[in-house]
């Protein structure tokens, strides 16, 4: 089974949710190192938008990915599901929409980064967003894990 967390910008709530799901990040972790690690993705994922990024395996052996699909998530999900049929791929894919956890700050930061590049102000806003974002994403992850409990991995 593959789990794909997606959002509009990808490197914000989708990344955070995937990292929390696999245990790469703990809910109480507000350390500088982990903030910088995610910030590096925030700065560079814009040029790679759409790409599925492997985060790791969770405790049940499920592959966890994250991605940014902007406003085309419905179409891309449809395309991916049908490509599975085209290529005869039977493994189940669970999509988790983390877009509602992002809010307006990532939209603003992504726009700024695209046109002006990284600067300390962007980092500071990102850290502020992340501080509140971790709790929201952790709640979503626990809901996802609860819904997948007992699900067989084909």
């Amino acid at each position: 089974m593959k789990i794909v967390y997606y959002s509009g910008r990808g490197a914000f709530s989708a990344y955070l949710s995937a990292a929390l799901h696999t245990g790469h990040l703990l809910a109480g972790d507000a350390g500088e190192a982990s903030i910088l690690q995610q910030y590096a993705w925030v700065c560079r994922y814009g040029k790679h938008m759409g790409n599925l990024v492997f985060m790791g395996m969770d405790e049940a052996g499920r592959e966890v990915y994250w991605a940014g699909y902007q406003r085309h998530s419905g179409m891309i999900r449809r395309a991916q599901e049908h490509l599975k049929a085209v290529f005869g791929l039977s493994e189940r894919v669970v999509y988790v929409d983390a877009g509602d956890l992002e809010g307006w700050i990532p939209l603003f930061l992504a726009f700024y980064l695209k046109h002006r590049g990284p600067d300390p102000g962007v980092y500071s806003w990102f850290a502020r967003w992340r501080e509140k974002g971790i709790a929201r994403c952790a709640k979503r992850v626990s809901e996802v894990k609860a819904s997948l409990k007992g699900a067989k991995c084909p």
Partner: protein, 160 residues
């Protein structure tokens, strides 16, 4: 496993269908087809908005490639990495998949006609406009398909 080629355009209704049809011989390469020929092409001006993104199978060509068409709106910079990386995650070799942009030869009248037909429901006016526009650019579509076929043939000889 048969290799897969996907012609894509905005709505998956006109230019990608035309290219796939030329590729498979449903439309001629040596002359400009009559307007009525397009109406008899399967799937021409038929794609609904809620089916955007779904690859539609058209047939298999003489090289053994399965030919599909699909609509990806104006999101190719996002959608193509999304689809390629998805297939990569499943271990599908990149050499088995080809995506071809059929929008490169889009005539503006086709675009307006497509919007009128698919979005506004004005099929009576929109469909003939799309056919007019596609016929205007028809030679470019034939050229695109022939370039694709030459690439596929080189691909096949590289693989053997």
């Amino acid at each position: 496993m048969p290799l897969k080629l996907f012609y894509y355009c905005y709505g998956g209704a006109h230019t990608s269908v035309t290219c796939a049809s030329i590729h498979l011989g449903f439309l001629p390469r040596d002359r400009l087809p009559a307007s009525s020929a397009f109406l008899s092409v399967p799937f021409y001006d038929k794609m609904d908005n809620d089916k955007l993104g779904i690859p539609m199978y058209m047939g298999r060509d003489k090289l053994g490639w399965d030919i599909y068409f699909m609509g990806l709106k104006n999101s190719k910079a996002l959608s193509l990495p999304a689809l390629r990386s998805f297939l990569n995650a499943f271990g599908v070799p990149q050499r088995q998949v080809f995506f071809v942009n059929a929008l490169a030869e889009l005539h503006p009248i086709t675009s307006i006609g497509g919007f009128t037909s698919r979005k506004l429901g004005g099929v009576f006016i929109g469909r003939p406009m799309t056919i007019w526009g596609v016929r205007k650019s028809y030679a470019k579509f034939v050229d695109l398909v022939e370039r694709v076929e030459r690439t596929l043939a080189l691909y096949a000889s590289d693989c053997t």
